[in-house]
């Protein structure tokens, strides 16, 4: 049976949903070709000190592949272009799959084209959808910065095709309803890669990965968000940012605040901005027009600070504070600072 590989990616700051999404998309394809395609996952990692099968579990919440290839090598401790290309070339030679899919992350877009060039694989980058029809691969991708979509056809030969899938296209798969009982555990095939340890190019030294400052975290990824609107005012955003930093939260804004240039436009939340799903959302001086609240429907805990008793935001909040956001934030900053000094 032909295999469809999903190459899993791990990296600081990379949400696990990206892998889930590709798995879900691939599973759909496998179901369409049931009996002819087999879903397999591929993980590249350093050998674990205590090798337990349990370590594989977090990847497969609702979608379980039938096979799980684990490639182990000390050089795969962290991402290197050479390491990924060498490891995957080795595995492709051992088990030639029909199709290889991975998320089009920064790293995915780093190794995948190189692997394709090295092995001469048919390669389609940044797909929004991919379908197999007999011996052709049909993909949908964006053109001209998303102004047009193009459908392409790639003939599959004896070599596997390689596809990168744009993250966020599908969204996080919700818990599968059709699934009855826990999915069967995948057959785990572990390889200690017989490659030379010098997979890192000596001319290239990877110093490390830096996390962004909490207030700079992209809103879609933020655990906590402090957002401000008209009631905060231009000057108030400095305090709001201080408060956010103390809380380890990202700064968001309503359209009023971004339109007036108090905050850059990529911080806008709502219908014409971003949709966010933080655990904590603090709306300061935001009345809660539907255009804004449409962007926060996934927020778990909402705190609203507003002087207007009738502001619709209070209907959505877990805690409502009736007062001027700036005043309250300023004092809350003092309280949090006193505490951090006290500790």
């Amino acid at each position: 049976m032909a295999e469809l590989w999903v190459v899993l990616q791990e990296q600081d700051g990379l949400p696990p949903e990206y892998n889930q999404e590709v798995l879900a998309e691939a599973q759909e394809l496998v179901q369409q070709h049931s009996g002819r395609l087999q879903l397999c996952a591929v993980q590249l990692r350093a050998p674990l000190p205590t090798a337990t099968e349990k370590n594989t579990e977090p990847f497969f919440k609702s979608i379980a592949p039938e096979r799980f290839y684990v490639l182990e090598h000390p050089a795969l401790e962290r991402y290197t272009t050479e390491g990924y290309v060498a490891a995957l070339s080795w595995l492709i030679r051992a088990h030639t799959p029909a199709l290889i899919v991975t998320s089009a992350t920064a790293n995915g877009q780093d190794w995948a084209p190189r692997l394709a060039a090295q092995l001469g694989l048919p390669f389609v980058a940044r797909c929004l959808r991919f379908v197999l029809e007999q011996d052709t691969l049909l993909t949908l991708r964006a053109l001209y910065g998303g102004r047009a979509y193009v459908q392409t056809r790639t003939r599959l030969g004896r070599l596997p095709a390689l596809v990168t899938f744009v993250p966020g296209t599908r969204g996080t798969p919700s818990a599968s309803r059709s699934q009855v009982g826990p999915s069967p555990a995948p057959e785990v095939i572990r390889y200690q890669l017989p490659l030379a340890t010098e997979e890192q190019s000596p001319r290239l030294q990877r110093l490390g990965i830096e996390a962004p400052a909490a207030e700079e975290v992209e809103l879609e990824a933020a655990e906590k968000i402090v957002a401000g609107g008209r009631g905060v005012g231009r000057e108030g955003f400095a305090e709001l940012a201080t408060f956010a930093r103390l809380l380890g939260a990202a700064v968001g804004a309503s359209r009023v605040a971004t339109d007036r240039g108090w905050v850059e436009s990529e911080r806008q939340i709502g219908a014409t901005g971003k949709s966010v799903s933080p655990r904590l959302y603090i709306a300061c001086g935001i009345s809660g027009a539907a255009q804004h609240t449409s962007g926060i429907r996934e927020a778990q805990t909402i705190i609203a600070i507003n002087p207007d008793r009738n502001a619709p935001i209070f209907a959505l909040a877990d805690l409502g504070l009736l007062g001027d956001a700036r005043e309250i934030l300023r004092r809350a900053i003092q309280l949090l600072q006193e505490e951090s000094v006290g500790v």
Partner: protein, 292 residues
């Protein structure tokens, strides 16, 4: 220090018009420019050359006659030599074949350049493939998605401090020594405007054109590249499921629910008081829920 920069002429995205019914792209309206990321790659190369006070910048493109425009821009900005590759069949080439042609051209020189700069992706196809593929064909290490670049002299050798863009604001820091290939993100720098005299001089320059198929080391795997376009159409987003609004509600509220996508109402605890009291309440709540 010899630096090569690979450039592409691409339509400015804001000039792209797609007919919403037929899905036809109106190529007549295209405003062709130097691809934004490639302009940053060229700018990075020129700044490096200026900083080192020595070296040369070679700008290379693969494209039809019109794309000489980008080479003239490169020349006006400060490139030392320019060259265009073209063969009529190249209009159908995929990124891997294009990379193979560029690799063959760079191999045709007595030695490879010390540094190669490419744009991370083009504004039209945005497959981000040519850079890494070129590095693979030339056997060079690569760094993709560069958003920070500093050059230092380290005991007579050039040392590059590179910042790479990862997801969600994360950055990777690297140290690199040439030779290598860098693909540049369009936020790396602000490309310069060429001066008018330089621009006028560039208009008169003669441009060398080479046929990549005549290059000795051009061995493209055309078979791997059989990707053909089936259809181009206007974007249609994936459908998004919304909960059905409660029929008990007034039409106004139902419309509100459709717009908000059914944001759930909660039991708000409304607290009044002086700012001090409210700030205390806020901090207490945050602690109680474990956010602080």
């Amino acid at each position: 220090m010899r630096i090569a920069v690979c450039l592409k002429q691409a339509p400015d995205c804001s000039s792209v018009y797609v007919d919403p019914i037929s899905g036809e792209v109106d190529t007549e309206r295209f405003v062709q420019t130097l691809n934004a990321a490639d302009a940053c790659a060229l700018e990075a190369a020129l700044r490096l050359k200026e900083q080192l006070g020595a070296g040369s910048v070679f700008a290379l493109t693969l494209g039809p006659g019109e794309s000489e425009e980008v080479l003239r821009v490169a020349l006006a900005m400060g490139a030392d030599t320019i060259e265009r590759l073209w063969h009529p069949s190249a209009a159908d080439w995929g990124p891997l074949t294009i990379a193979a042609a560029l690799a063959a051209r760079l191999r045709a020189d007595p030695s490879l350049p010390d540094l190669i700069f490419c744009g991370e992706q083009s504004s039209d196809w945005a497959s981000g493939t040519v850079g890494p593929a070129l590095a693979a064909y030339l056997g060079l290490p690569q760094i993709t998605g560069v958003i920070g670049l500093e050059a230092h002299q380290d005991s007579g050798q050039l040392l590059l401090r590179v910042t790479r863009r990862l997801e969600r604001g994360y950055r990777e820091r690297l140290l690199a020594r040439p030779p290598l290939l860098l693909t540049v993100h369009e936020t790396l720098n602000e490309p310069r405007y060429p001066s008018l005299p330089a621009h006028l001089a560039a208009l008169r320059a003669t441009i060398t054109v080479r046929d990549p198929l005549s290059l000795p080391q051009f061995a493209a795997d055309f078979e791997a590249e059989e990707t053909t376009i089936v259809e181009v159409r206007t974007p249609r987003p994936r459908p998004h499921r919304l909960p059905i609004p409660d029929s008990q509600l007034s039409p106004f509220e139902r419309i509100g629910e459709i717009i908000t996508g059914g944001t759930s109402r909660r039991q708000a605890r409304l607290v009044e008081g002086s700012p001090e009291e409210l700030a205390h309440e806020l901090v207490r709540f945050l602690k109680e829920r474990g956010f602080v």
